[in-house]
């Protein structure tokens, strides 16, 4: 336990008990090592093996990685999925910023309740929600039927479901709360008198937004973007269920290697590539935080 000031770091007095230090480092580095890294590392190892005639060959090679770039449509699907996730991330982060700012501009007494009303949908099973989204957006779904009944349209709108648009809508709806929460939590810590000061100096609300609220919300925005990108990039169920013939994503390819295809080496290699991508996303988000200075 400590504070964030770098000064405090140096202030931490040398412990009498090395034991306590060891325990502290042990817990923080050992637990993740044991429960996360070791299991996953063994998997990364698999990615350097190959499957030949249905048998795993335990020689280290880059064949699977080569396959990603050269064979079949892995690369194409991968790029399509990156694009899809990036687009959803962009839209969701923009929406989430707007919503977080909206909540932030309410009086303190109602903020938490509004925030929570945006979190509540997370408590309904996501499978059920996808089903529900589908039943709303279908050609004979509640939306079309409703619009037809109201006479607002005379033909069902078809692109709502089984299209890229549908993937967009569904992913955006499913993952929006994950973007709102971190952004709002960051805004919530902005000292009230900063806004007073910026207004005093002549900033319009929009300028205050640009210069104070968003820069100080940046760690939250980065976190929200990373959450959204990773979750959508890894989600292969939603695109599959609402994307129709367009719903084939990279996650699906990864998944398919671990079933009857029994191609664990390729699956692992593809997973490592997925990991590298998300790491890149995190690094990019991290870059935007460079200039952040803690009080």
């Amino acid at each position: 336990m400590s504070t964030t000031s770098s000064s405090h770091r140096s202030a931490r007095p040398r412990r009498r008990g090395i034991v306590r230090d060891l325990l502290w480092h042990g817990l923080n580095l050992g637990l993740p090592l044991l429960f996360v890294v070791l299991p996953i590392l063994s998997f990364v190892l698999v990615s350097f093996w190959t499957l030949t005639n249905g048998q795993i060959v335990h020689t280290l090679t880059l064949a699977n990685y080569r396959a990603f770039f050269t064979e079949g449509s892995y690369l194409q699907v991968y790029l399509g999925t990156v694009l899809l996730s990036a687009q959803v991330t962009l839209i969701n982060v923009v929406l989430a910023i707007a919503i977080a700012v909206f909540i932030f501009r309410r009086t303190p007494r109602v903020r938490f309740l509004i925030l929570m009303s945006f979190m509540l949908p997370l408590f309904m099973s996501y499978i059920i929600k996808i089903y529900s989204i589908r039943s709303i957006l279908g050609q004979r779904g509640l939306l079309n039927e409703g619009l037809l009944a109201l006479g607002l349209i005379d033909q069902p709108i078809e692109v709502l479901l089984f299209s890229r648009t549908a993937i967009f809508i569904a992913l955006a709806v499913l993952y929006l709360p994950y973007a709102i929460l971190p952004i709002y939590l960051a805004l919530d810590r902005i000292p009230a008198n900063y806004l007073a000061a910026s207004a005093d100096l002549g900033a319009t609300p929009l300028q205050a937004l640009r210069d104070i609220v968003l820069p100080l919300g940046r760690p939250g925005i980065a976190a929200g973007a990373v959450f959204t990108f990773i979750l959508t990039f890894g989600d292969f169920v939603t695109p599959q269920m609402v994307g129709g013939t367009q719903g084939f994503t990279f996650g699906r390819i990864v998944f398919s290697q671990f079933g009857l295809a029994l191609n664990w080496p390729l699956g692992s290699a593809l997973a490592v590539i997925l990991l590298a991508t998300t790491l890149l996303a995190v690094a990019l988000a991290g870059l935007t935080l460079r200039r952040e200075h803690v009080r």
Binding site: Q139, G247, L260
Partner: protein
């Protein structure tokens, strides 16, 4: 797991709560059911734990060999399988589950991957799979999403003799055929229910289905649909009860299998879920002889890759 417990790895409908209750009171053995959504999941799970988490696993004929090759299931000890006598004569030899001199599964439930059609659009049942490719029905066709069975289905639609052992050239043909179908599709679906739900919420008239249950469910919902095995034939699937290679409760495993293979259980399953039982002749499923019974295919890995290509195609 502890003795006195049997752990099932099963599909929905293979471990009805009523049966479980009856079995538990009868034998004093507790039942733990783990449901899976598909064979891919099932094999990944079994492989990662060397089968140690389950005692009885339902495996379809087409993937039995893969399970056996990976040493995930153990040969059946026919001595202990006292209910084998209840099997219909056709299933008695368990030839579908026998290779390398050992028998790995007991036939348990079967069905077909036939065509569901809208009776308003088709007053008479379409007789060929070709209708799915008919541009007139573009956007009104849906298809099962299952790497192995889609390739089987493509081969069958193309009239290939042995859909389970395809040459490179044949596979290429099948792939093109499936890509061509894709252009006509509204979407793929992955389970019985997905198929029927999508049907009911969209303007769909044709479906390469997951089986009888699709039609039954749609009819229950008030849709006027029919189920047909086209002239080219259709994949027949047969799920088997197998004993996990990792089991420590062999006796409990056999107890469950013997219990499940009773005629009354089979009849109940047919009634509740529309699957064909292996212990009783199912009503209305009179096309068993026209089905092309699924076998272990030439190369799963390959098929998966091809299927991925189809799905990635534009």
């Amino acid at each position: 797991g502890p003795k006195g417990e049997v752990r099932l790895l099963a599909y929905e409908g293979y471990a009805d709560p009523a049966w479980v209750e009856e079995f538990e009171t009868e034998t004093g053995i507790t039942v733990k059911v783990t449901y899976v959504g598909g064979v891919d999941e099932q094999i990944a799970k079994m492989k990662a734990s060397n089968g140690k988490d389950y005692d009885v696993v339902t495996v379809d004929t087409a993937s039995l060999k893969a399970f056996a090759d990976q040493k995930l299931i153990a040969p059946i000890d026919k001595e202990k399988l006292t209910s084998a006598k209840n099997l219909l004569p056709d299933f008695q030899p368990m030839s579908n589950a026998t290779f390398g001199g050992a028998t790995y599964g007991v036939p348990w439930a079967w069905g077909s991957l036939g065509m569901v059609y809208d009776k308003k659009t088709f007053p008479t049942a379409p007789d060929s799979w070709e209708v799915l490719w008919d541009p007139r029905f573009k956007g009104k066709v849906i298809s099962l999403d299952d790497a192995n069975n889609d390739i089987n289905f493509g081969a069958i639609a193309l009239g290939m003799k042995d859909p389970f052992n395809l040459t490179d050239a044949q596979l290429a043909q099948v792939k093109d055929k499936l890509i061509a179908l894709k252009k006509n599709l509204l979407t793929y679906f992955a389970g019985f229910d997905e198929g029927t739900t999508i049907w009911s919420e969209n303007d769909v008239v044709l479906m390469f289905s997951m089986g009888e249950l699709a039609a039954i469910n749609l009819q229950k919902k008030g849709f006027d649909v029919g189920y047909v095995i086209p002239k080219e034939g259709a994949v027949g699937w047969l799920d088997n009860l197998t004993v996990s290679a990792g089991t420590e409760n062999t006796d409990a495993a056999y107890a469950w299998m013997n219990f499940a293979l009773q005629k009354k259980i089979g009849a109940d399953m047919a009634k509740k879920y529309g699957y064909g039982a292996t212990t009783d002749a199912p009503q209305g499923m009179d096309y068993a002889n026209r089905l092309i019974w699924a076998q272990n295919p030439e190369d799963y890995t390959r098929r998966q890759a091809i299927w991925n290509e189809v799905k990635a195609a534009n």
